[in-house]
């Protein structure tokens, strides 16, 4: 099931879990130093190996897509923004339900991504690892006994594994604790980022926690460490919620209903405002204050209202005011549907 159309374990606070594995072929320079000819040859070899595996991948030719369609892939977390900036040929192999995406020709030759709704790290890793094993057994991989999988950046060498969890932390955000969280987790080898990944500010109270360490720690130990940190964050957020907005608190109900009010009536809305209001609505769902709405529905809305995905569904480029208008339409319809679901 596509991750953003559903909700998973601990889905009330955790939006998604993501795994990324980096692999390179030996005998080719790393991404930035490939010649275009080498890049094309490399892509063909990897595509061939994946096709021969019998797995059913959609071979996406990024160069044939419009800028809006490309942006929509970034918004759905299927590719990194960096993939679009590579000077050399790049590619994307997409599993049919979008839970597996293989980026070709990024900083590392192969980056296998696996996405799951909710807190589901180990199954997500197992899915990515199964793909990695197939590739490893068919292609000559840059690997050493001493350092494991060799990558372009020494911060990825070893397992090449980056695991991230996207959490909804409205209480910790409002209590101004995210910065302290970020400072402290970095000492443990984890980074905290905003909704839009690297360098992004926190939006819609969504925070992404991921590992920095890939060498000197095994895959399962790392996932277990990250899982424990996430569990601690969940406990903290729940405690902070009792303090910041107990469920009997009229102010919290007010906040949730205001969000529903604005989302249900606005005619123009920016994605920043919409993400913040959807965060309030999500909080309402989590506290049982918003009958008719679900976390899965909010996950799906968050993707639908992003600029690229909006333009892709419109089938043409849209200027900002037009996007704000379409975004407001989508949200009004969703709120109306939620309200009528609650009434029946």
């Amino acid at each position: 099931m596509t991750w953003y159309l559903t909700s998973g374990p601990e889905g009330d606070l955790i939006v998604s879990s993501r795994i990324r594995l980096a692999r390179n072929l030996k005998d080719y320079p790393f991404g930035a130093r490939l010649t275009p000819e080498q890049g094309t040859e490399l892509l063909e070899r990897i595509r061939g190996a994946c096709r021969a595996s019998g797995d059913d991948y959609l071979d996406v030719h990024l160069e044939d897509l419009s800028p809006q369609e490309q942006l929509s892939l970034v918004e759905r977390r299927l590719i990194s923004p960096e993939l679009l900036e590579q000077p050399n040929p790049v590619g994307l192999l997409l599993g049919r339900d979008e839970s597996i995406a293989i980026m070709l020709g990024e900083e590392d030759h192969i980056r296998i991504q696996s996405m799951r709704a909710g807190l589901d790290l180990v199954p997500a890793w197992e899915a990515a690892d199964a793909v990695a094993r197939i590739i490893e057994s068919r292609l000559p991989i840059a690997w050493s006994e001493r350092y494991g999988f060799l990558t372009a950046c020494p911060t990825n060498v070893g397992t090449g594994l980056r695991a991230s969890v996207m959490m909804h932390l409205p209480a910790l955000t409002r209590l101004g604790q995210i910065e302290a969280l970020s400072r402290n987790l970095s000492k443990l080898g984890f980074t905290v980022r905003g909704y839009h990944g690297e360098h992004s500010r926190t939006q819609g109270c969504l925070v992404q926690i991921s590992n920095q360490l890939t060498l000197g720690i095994g895959e399962r130990d790392l996932l277990s460490d990250l899982g424990q940190i996430v569990e601690q964050m969940l406990q903290l957020e729940r405690r902070a919620r009792e303090q910041a907005f107990g469920s009997d608190d009229i102010r919290t109900a007010d906040r949730v209903q205001r969000a529903i009010g604005i989302l249900g009536h606005a005619r123009l809305i920016t994605s920043e405002e919409a993400l913040d209001l959807l965060s309030d609505l999500r909080l309402g769902v989590e506290l049982g204050l918003a009958p008719g709405f679900s976390a899965a529905q909010i996950n799906s809305l968050m993707i639908q209202i992003e600029p690229g995905t909006l333009q892709k569904s419109a089938g043409r480029p849209l200027e900002a005011p037009e996007r704000d208008c379409r975004r407001a339409d989508i949200l009004r319809n969703a709120i109306a549907a939620g309200r009528s679901a609650a009434a029946t």
């Binding site: 397992t159 409002r174 920095q212 130990d221 303090q243």
Partner: protein, 212 residues
């Protein structure tokens, strides 16, 4: 409503406190709220902060400890892609997989600063033909944990069972000593070394590929 503390910004945080059975609500702006240390967080931050800081690449390349690094690796260059060690330090990126071999003499210093350890402990490469490397002879005496925490897997497996147990218990002692002097970085390394040994014991055939 304005913040009770600064009286300036709009209050956006409402903190309910229950003291001696009496309930009171504080109205604060998020700036002021972030300056307050709220009790449940304080304990957690202290607990989390008990680990040694890790440098990231950016700070690493410019850190004083790394100033001598370019000089130490002067003259090193990759025979395959031509990347010099100085260029690697500047960009933080290897040019190709051969760079790892070319810069091997300096890598433990670099990786030791940005990673948990300097040796791979993940799963083996899939589909690799078992190269059946001969086991090194078991060490005459166990190394001192003050010198090393990592035995090569093959070396650990070549130990007699009671020696394996002795090594793990030496690591446990080292971990406890490290905790006692609040050297949490070393404690974490000990913990990982113990985990690795236990994993090797549980899986004596490790290194042989299990088909997926």
């Amino acid at each position: 409503m304005n913040c009770e503390r600064c009286q300036r910004n709009e209050a956006s945080v409402f903190i309910t406190q229950i003291e001696n059975g009496k309930r009171s609500v504080m109205h604060l702006c998020s700036d002021c709220a972030s300056k307050l240390t709220i009790s449940p967080f304080k304990a957690l931050w202290q607990q989390l902060a008990a680990n040694a800081p890790l440098g990231l690449w950016k700070s690493l390349a410019t850190s004083p400890q790394m100033q001598g690094e370019a000089a130490a690796g002067a003259g090193l260059a990759c025979p395959d892609c031509g990347l010099s060690y100085a260029e690697f330090l500047r960009s933080g990126k290897f040019g190709c997989s051969t760079c790892y071999k070319a810069f091997e003499s300096r890598l433990d210093t670099i990786l030791g600063r940005i990673q948990r350890g300097t040796r791979y402990v993940g799963r083996p490469l899939a589909g690799r033909q078992s190269t059946a490397t001969p086991c090194p002879p078991p060490p005459a005496a166990l190394p001192d944990t003050s010198e090393t925490l990592d035995l090569e897997p093959a070396c650990f497996l070549s130990l007699a069972p009671e020696q394996q147990t002795a090594w793990i218990s030496a690591l446990r002692d080292a971990q406890n000593e490290a905790v006692a002097i609040e050297d949490y970085e070393r404690a974490a390394r000990c913990r990982d070394a113990i985990r690795r040994c236990l994993a090797l014991q549980a899986e004596p055939a490790a290194g042989e590929e299990v088909s997926p």
